[in-house]
């Protein structure tokens, strides 16, 4: 049945080469943990991607209940956490996944760094990778405010003061982030929400596409 459906579409659109191009590629021996167990270090990039997928999916479902408004944000989080079926699990996935993704991206960076895999011709991919790391940190920073509890509020307060410590343009950066020169409040929350669910994910997807296209063009760096 499925095969027939596939064949019907494939006959008309010739889709096989599209997915073969993505899915069919040999894993070099030095990258395969079945040959050398130490090759598990090559897993961290893939694990980062896997956790990112979990973050995107769980985040999409969380927005079904969350409201970015200072009156209702905390209540909506409390509601989805305590009243909604599996809400605790899904928010738990997003909460813990946020930390796990930083750990994974860091381990991946360490591997690339200590293997010298960033060297010519892969310098550009290193640059994109570092940008991805910053985007991830931005996602962590903006997402932290959203539950609008005390921890979120004061962590953001501190984060904004750090931004303010930038020479010359610091005050402007802070105002731009918080939406108000003095108050961390209603406008800060909507800004952080917009950045967290629209702007940074858009940047993330674009950079990830570049990252993956480059690695497929250049291949994985050779054995040490």
């Amino acid at each position: 049945m499925l095969q027939k459906l596939y064949d019907w579409v494939d006959e008309r659109l010739d889709i096989t080469p599209i997915w073969r191009d993505i899915a069919d590629h040999e894993v070099p021996e030095h990258v395969n943990p079945a040959h050398h167990f130490s090759a598990f270090v090559y897993c961290f990039g893939g694990l980062t991607f896997f956790v990112t997928v979990i973050q995107v999916l769980s985040g999409m479902f969380l927005t079904m209940y969350y409201v970015p408004d200072i009156e209702n944000a905390w209540n909506s989080v409390e509601y989805l956490q305590s009243q909604v079926a599996h809400g605790q699990i899904v928010r738990g996935m997003h909460h813990w996944g946020a930390s796990v993704v930083i750990v994974m991206i860091f381990l991946h960076t360490l591997r690339v760094f200590f293997q010298g895999a960033y060297k010519k011709p892969r310098e550009l991919n290193w640059v994109v990778g570092v940008l991805l790391f910053f985007v991830m940190l931005g996602l962590g920073f903006t997402g932290y405010l959203l539950p609008w509890d005390n921890k979120a509020f004061f962590a953001t307060q501190v984060g904004l003061e750090i931004a303010e410590s930038v020479p010359v343009i610091g005050t402007d950066i802070k105002t731009l982030l918080a939406g108000d020169p003095e108050i961390v409040g209603a406008q800060t929350l909507t800004r952080f929400f917009a950045i967290h669910v629209f702007f940074l994910p858009a940047a993330l997807f674009g950079l990830m596409a570049l990252h993956f296209i480059m690695i497929r063009r250049q291949g994985i760096s050779g054995p040490l």
């Binding site: 979990i54 999916l57 769980s58 479902f61 079904m64 209940y65 209702n72 209540n75 909506s76 409390e78 509601y79 989805l80 009243q83 909604v84 079926a85 599996h86 809400g87 699990i89 899904v90 996935m93």
Partner: protein, 169 residues
């Protein structure tokens, strides 16, 4: 020999099945709680609701009277007072009827005697008509009579609950 080989699962097939199975299981374990969260409104049991005092029984006439009352509404994390309206009257047997003004066609609000006919409920959206008992008049858009509120009478006071379909027509 070759016949036997044909029935065997090849290494590649075995691996394919195993990976699809394990991967599918892991994916399902990941997605299941998220879907559960999305369909939560379907899983919630609907609350029966309180009965609210609306008017005194001896004030009820044969002519429908429009009465408003407010109920405590819990909408997820948001609590509010929601306005409800009822058309309250006695039928020829002296039984109390409290009708919801929500048109059974598409949910507009009906009014008493605002159409061309006297003694009828009328919905301005698509000219829906109901007779004096709130039963829809055949040939007009509504498909069933106006819903009726559950009611209770205590100490000569009328209390209304939720509006339910009446069936018929």
């Amino acid at each position: 020999m070759s016949e036997k080989k044909n029935n065997q699962v090849s290494r590649r097939q075995f691996l394919n099945y195993t990976l699809t199975g394990v991967g599918g299981f892991m994916g399902a374990a990941m997605i299941a709680p998220m879907v559960g969260m999305a369909v939560d409104p379907l899983l919630k049991a609907d609350s029966s609701g309180d009965f609210i005092y609306v008017m005194d029984v001896d004030e009820i006439t044969e002519e429908p009277q429009r009465k408003s009352f407010s109920i405590e509404q819990q909408d997820g994390w948001y609590e509010s007072e929601a306005e409800r309206t009822a058309w309250i009257f006695r039928d020829e047997n002296g039984d109390i009827l409290a009708l919801s003004p929500i048109c059974t066609h598409l949910g507009c609000v009906v009014d008493w005697e605002t159409g061309n006919q006297d003694n009828e409920f009328f919905c301005p959206c698509h000219n829906g008509r109901y007779d004096s008992k709130g039963v829809n008049i055949p040939g007009t858009p509504p498909t069933e009579p106006l819903h009726a509120y559950e009611y209770r009478v205590e100490d000569g006071r009328l209390y209304l609950g939720r509006a339910n379909p009446r069936g018929g027509a």
